[in-house]
Symmetry: C2
Subunit: 188 residues, 2 copies
């Protein structure tokens, strides 16, 4: 029962994540439910509105997204290596043919409304990534950890957007850029 219900919800959120990512937030409820094999009736029993579905589908992506990018705590590398490793994984992911950029940044850009429930989710993800950068910057002895973290976010989001839009290929570009910024900040 709990499994069945979760399964319906899971199918819906998985399809939502994929369609919102591929086609943008303007995708219709009809197409969404058809693709998920879920009736609109069930969708509106699980969620109050399409906006809530979007927010939940983004929230659902967070664990996999962070697990892909952020190194495990057991990783014995230096802060510098952890940061560079994250950007390497970003570059690896960006070469996949259906890569469309960071889904959270895309949601923030498409929904221009910062009050939208999905915007709140997306902002949280960005803040957590920036906090990770800041922690690593502190551990690495950066001169200004907050500045370095903000610079790395600039590079991260710029690279995501440009690679996602198909106007940049990121072949070592971010690692070269991040290396220069790490050097300039005195991060070990």
């Amino acid at each position: 029962m709990a499994t069945d219900k979760a399964s319906t919800k899971d199918r819906l959120l998985d399809a939502a994540a994929e369609l919102f990512y591929r086609d943008g937030v303007s995708i219709g409820v009809e197409a969404l439910c058809r693709s998920a094999g879920v009736s609109k009736r069930s969708m509106y029993q699980l969620f109050a509105s399409k906006d809530e579905v979007l927010a939940a589908s983004l929230e659902r992506r967070i664990p996999a997204y962070e697990a892909l990018l952020v190194p495990a705590v057991t990783d014995a590398a230096t802060p510098r290596e952890r940061i560079l490793g994250l950007f390497e994984r970003l570059e690896q992911g960006s070469v996949e043919p259906d890569y469309r950029g960071c889904p959270f940044l895309a949601a923030l850009v498409e929904l221009k409304d910062p009050e939208h429930p999905a915007s709140t989710v997306a902002r949280t993800v960005k803040e957590r990534l920036q906090a990770f950068f800041r922690e690593q910057a502190e551990q690495g002895g950066a001169r200004d950890p907050e500045l370095l973290a903000r610079q790395l976010m600039l590079v991260f989001d710029g690279a995501s957007a440009r690679a996602g839009a198909g106007i940049e290929t990121l072949d070592g570009l971010t690692t070269a850029t991040v290396t220069a910024l790490l050097d300039a900040s005195g991060t070990k």
Copy 2:
């Protein structure tokens, strides 16, 4: 006659530029024409489709956009100063309350279709900016002008997107970042 016709077209494209920028590309033709004080009849005499209106409205913005960012050729500054000045003007523009990021990058993100006529226009603008960076990098003696130009585009688009989404304030952030990259590249 030519003036009248141009005036209708101008009103339409001005309203289109503003509405597409503020509300996104999903804004309807009805609302667009209402805001422009132009009938749909006239719009469809001037343009084949809404997509063409979007592309034309983006194209129309190019001169003002480039004039705002790119320094005049009479400017006697060094390449480094020209690049830094461009980012200073970006930061100045980003503090305006209705700033929503680079309209060309936003269009590329929202229209996920690279074949869309407006995507072509937006890509051209990005390529021209990158070419400007590359020229300045060459003049400044950068070790790898193409690499530096791509790095600057990363910073430019990352900063536009983040400031436009309201998750970054850019208070000297880009100039600090660009300075580090210019230094690392050996640009005078």
